[in-house]
């Protein structure tokens, strides 16, 4: 009979690398309850410039955490951001790790 003695893993190792960036963290937080928001609504909530938001949204989209939708209202383009199932799972795991760090007991 063998026993394995594994050292407990600190919850910081379970933090999601994509979500350590404060802007990406805020984007995911803004989308958490609403699920889908317009680009401008996310920009206003996160309080960053359009270009900074676009850059971080592209990274989240590449990671599969956010889906970007494009539509037109008349001639005006409308961009919507939707948190994906994968993104929600990662976000929940990230929050759980933070919760463990905040309250280790």
């Amino acid at each position: 009979m063998t026993t394995t003695n594994q050292a407990p893993v600190h919850p910081r190792h379970r933090l999601d690398g994509h979500l350590l960036n404060p802007v990406r963290f805020s984007i995911m937080a803004a989308l958490d309850r609403a699920t889908t928001l317009g680009f401008r609504e996310v920009r206003d909530a996160v309080e960053v410039t359009d270009s900074a938001l676009s850059k971080q949204v592209a990274l989240l989209e590449t990671a599969g955490y956010v889906a970007v939708g494009k539509a037109f209202t008349g001639k005006t383009p409308r961009t919507s951001l939707t948190v994906t199932r994968e993104g929600r799972t990662a976000w929940r795991a990230h929050l759980a790790a933070l919760q463990e760090i905040a309250d280790p007991s």
Partner: protein, 143 residues
């Protein structure tokens, strides 16, 4: 990205508070026209179909025109209040809310057309519209 960054318990609590605050603020600023719209849609179409199902002649005509007028006024309100914003525009949740309303509304219109004057069926279908839309609005308001 470096996962080895040490985050202190105090920093983690701050991040959790920030996430919760941001999430609530973003949702609250975007959802009120939608919650108002679905509540009003349910009320207008529920009482409208009930009235149409139980009246005849000029009373029916007045109820029909009144319901249509209220419905179009509601569409105008909604279009104006969400102008420039795309929140929930393609969300699965809102598609489900509207689909649920549409199914009950279709049933109520079917009663108006084929079981006109039936208090029981008019009550059931119009009540279903009200119940479904109130449930959707309550669910969204509590998120």
């Amino acid at each position: 990205m470096d996962n080895q960054n040490s985050i202190s318990p105090a920093e983690a609590r701050t991040l959790l508070d920030t996430a919760d605050r941001l999430s609530r603020r973003a949702h609250e600023s975007a959802r009120w026209p939608y919650v108002t719209f679905i509540l009003a849609l349910g009320t207008v179409t529920s009482f409208g179909t009930l009235g149409m199902g139980l009246t005849t002649g000029s009373a029916f005509g007045l109820t029909y025109v009144g319901t249509l007028a209220a419905f179009f006024a509601l569409i105008v309100f909604f279009a104006v209040s969400i102008r420039g914003r795309a929140a929930f525009a393609r969300s699965r949740r809102w598609t489900t809310y509207i689909a649920s309303w549409f199914v009950t509304y279709g049933a109520a219109i079917a009663v108006v057309a084929w079981a006109h004057g039936s208090v029981l069926w008019s009550g059931i279908t119009s009540g279903a519209i009200l119940a479904v839309t109130m449930a959707c609005a309550s669910y969204e308001a509590r998120r």
